[in-house]
Symmetry: C2
Subunit: 440 residues, 2 copies
């Protein structure tokens, strides 16, 4: 369903490609993708999007139609456009597995390929890895904020376009959400799908009781009734009176949903109404402008809410809608390369990230080192593609989700509590020496 057209890219990639090919600059380049610094009030990030990147790289080619359009556009020489026909990705990819927790200045991914290929993929690589990592990182905070609660992505409508909605459903499921409301994400990625009802359904009927009852008969499975259209507690009373009638028809009300007002207060009142009617098994599900802080507060105050639908704050990562990330040339033709732009200088050379754990398994510290330096920690960048082909046994979404859960378990306790804390990322001596040798 994702469109991986190579025209989904920046114009300058093509300009540079033309220049590289004209100059015969096709030797091996090493690029790395990393995050420069954390957004405010964030202390860790989670890698995601690798599977879509691999699909993009495996299928990378200009279609005859795109080549004809490029030729007709007049922006490029005919000879150059002809040479694009045979272009494929033939390089290597090493990356942190999806669901790995990472920190600033750590390469999340290393691309080793002929310079034109490694350059051309930049725009879509960042576009794919940045967004899913952004959403997985945001979702992971919500998962930590609401332990044991059901979490469902409700954010398609305010996601930034269709692909964002689809990929946010995947990235949040990877990070520990239980599912999504987006049908296409269920089909495309197998993310479990959840659905309730909208206010318009209630409004279209002449009264709430009729709306509830009719919906229940047509859609009796996992039945969730929305009770805040007019007056939440009054609607809870309607649900209490309706339940025995439906039970006689073997229809069980699974949950009620609150979507406005003081959710904790309404949840308490509704829980009481339901319990007094013997409806202890009817769960309370809440939605409406929730973010990680609201989830933390509702869960710490022990509001009787069993699950949450999270929309805009998840799929737009509204507290931090972008990461300060980059994909930078670190080596060309066997020589390390370094950018020195103010505030944006990079660590040169091919690197690896080594993670050290405490005896209880939690992260102690990371070391960013040159691949050529010996280091005792667990190497986080693993081989993903060789010579343009994916290696066998790459984790699927289900395995990535398990890995994400383990990664969150291994966060230092303050980070698991969403408290500000820093995991030390050391820069190895070898890397410091190399950088120093290139500064002057």
């Amino acid at each position: 369903m994702l469109d991986h057209s190579l025209l989904l890219s920046d114009q300058y990639q093509l300009s540079m490609l033309e220049a590289y090919l004209a100059e015969g600059m096709t030797e091996t380049a090493v690029f790395e993708f990393f995050v420069r610094k954390l957004p405010p009030r964030r202390d860790f990030l989670m890698a995601a999007g690798l599977e879509q990147l691999v699909e993009f790289l495996e299928g990378m080619r200009y279609t005859p139609d795109e080549l004809a359009w490029l030729r007709a556009s007049g922006s490029f020489s005919a000879r150059f456009v002809d040479s694009l026909a045979g272009l494929r990705f033939t390089g290597d990819v090493d990356a942190m597995p999806e669901g790995t927790v990472f920190f600033p200045n750590e390469p999340v991914m290393r691309i080793t390929a002929p310079l034109p290929e490694a350059q051309l993929i930049e725009s879509r690589l960042i576009n794919l890895i940045h967004f899913q990592s952004l959403i997985a990182s945001t979702a992971a905070r919500m998962v930590l904020a609401a332990p044991g609660k059901q979490l469902v992505d409700f954010g398609f409508r305010r996601a930034h376009g269709a692909e964002a909605g689809l990929l946010a459903a995947r990235a949040s499921y990877l990070a520990g959400f239980d599912g999504t409301a987006t049908v296409a994400a269920h089909r495309e990625f197998g993310v479990p799908v959840f659905g309730t009802m909208a206010h318009s359904f209630i409004q279209a009927h002449d009264d709430e009781a009729t709306a509830f009852e009719r919906f229940a008969r047509v859609r009796p499975s996992a039945l969730t009734l929305l009770i805040d259209t007019y007056d939440t507690e009054r609607a809870a009373g309607i649900v209490a009176r309706l339940a025995p009638k439906l039970a006689a028809e073997h229809i069980a009300i699974a949950a009620v949903r609150l979507d406005s007002g003081d959710l904790a207060a309404h949840a308490c009142a509704v829980r009481r109404i339901l319990d007094e009617a013997g409806l202890q098994k009817v769960r309370i599900f809440a939605s409406g402008g929730l973010d990680d802080r609201a989830l933390l507060q509702l869960c710490r105050s022990a509001a009787p809410i069993d699950g949450f639908g999270v929309g805009t704050s998840l799929t737009t990562s509204s507290d931090a809608p972008a990461l300060d990330c980059a994909y930078k040339l670190q080596e060309y033709a066997g020589r390390p390369r370094r950018k020195l732009s103010e505030g944006k200088a990079t660590w040169p050379g091919r690197k690896q990230v080594y993670r050290f754990h405490r005896p209880d398994g939690t992260i102690a510290e990371d070391v960013v080192a040159l691949v050529s330096e010996p280091c005792a920690g667990e190497p986080l960048l693993r081989p993903v593609m060789r010579a343009g082909r994916r290696l066998p046994d790459l984790p699927d979404l289900s395995r990535a989700r398990s890995h994400a859960a383990r990664s969150l378990e291994h966060l230092p306790p303050p980070l698991r509590r969403l408290e500000a804390a820093e995991v030390l990322v050391h820069i190895s001596q070898g890397l410091r020496d190399l950088a120093a040798s290139m500064t002057t």
Copy 2:
């Protein structure tokens, strides 16, 4: 290029559809899309995305493949899935033309269609209209902040997926940007495309002078050289020495680009270096973490910068990554409907927005009224589709862009200066009376 699959939707739309069809609830519904309140430090918004919505509605259908998948999913009855095969959009659309400035509580769009159709389209309608309106609104502020400057969208890589990158290029062009770096947006929408070079191009060469010279020979047209990879002023000196050599080959350097550090200070220093070398015609282009506030500051301080590339803050609308918008049922089967949820109550009935102008053309005030109420102002909602077909002569992107420019000219002067100011949106007496009659 946009994927308009009907599965790009929320599961509950299908559940409600099944219930509506089972109940025979297929009478005419009226839904309206509106924004509840402005994001912080925003005082106006701009409508965009209508063209993509019309495309979606015209082509709306489940493919045989999707129907087979829905049947196999087991979530819906076979009879219901069969009935989806013939589903088309047969309704009416009235909307503010793209590029129209609007304010909270004003319906931007009114859908009048059989209830199942009007309901089903909700998720993708919001997804399309919300995002482009968000970006057009953000871009409009940048256009006002940098009058007379060239503005180019550089944000594909950090946009939330491919569709976001593509649609942000369209929406920002609509709002007054000069173009985009995204090739596919050039192909898809005819948005002018711009390209420079990346730091990696410089880094891959052994020295900057060689990189500049070789690039110039291969890509002499609209030649823009990136000068901040190592030392901005030193690179400007290299450009000054290179220019006469290239001029002898009839290659003109069009611009240099700054991407880091204190842009105003570097621009002054670089301007001096270029001017002293007789390169008054070489323009200075700046990029790197710019937003509307930075543009305003750079332009007010008269920094000698001729154009800007804007990325993340544009394509993620990072200061306000979402609008508090809704698509709500206002009438069903001839009866007005109203939602009363706390903090989310709606104005019922079919509405129109009337705009009143001052003698100089600027907006004086808007009135939101029932369509049945007479009102002297300019009606903003115009017919777009009738009985499922688009009306002839809908504005294309070029006309929408002209309309947007006029809309910005007609903003009250404080809003044009990006100062906080409120345009009065009155609720008509008829609408107040109707709402009051439905509260009890």
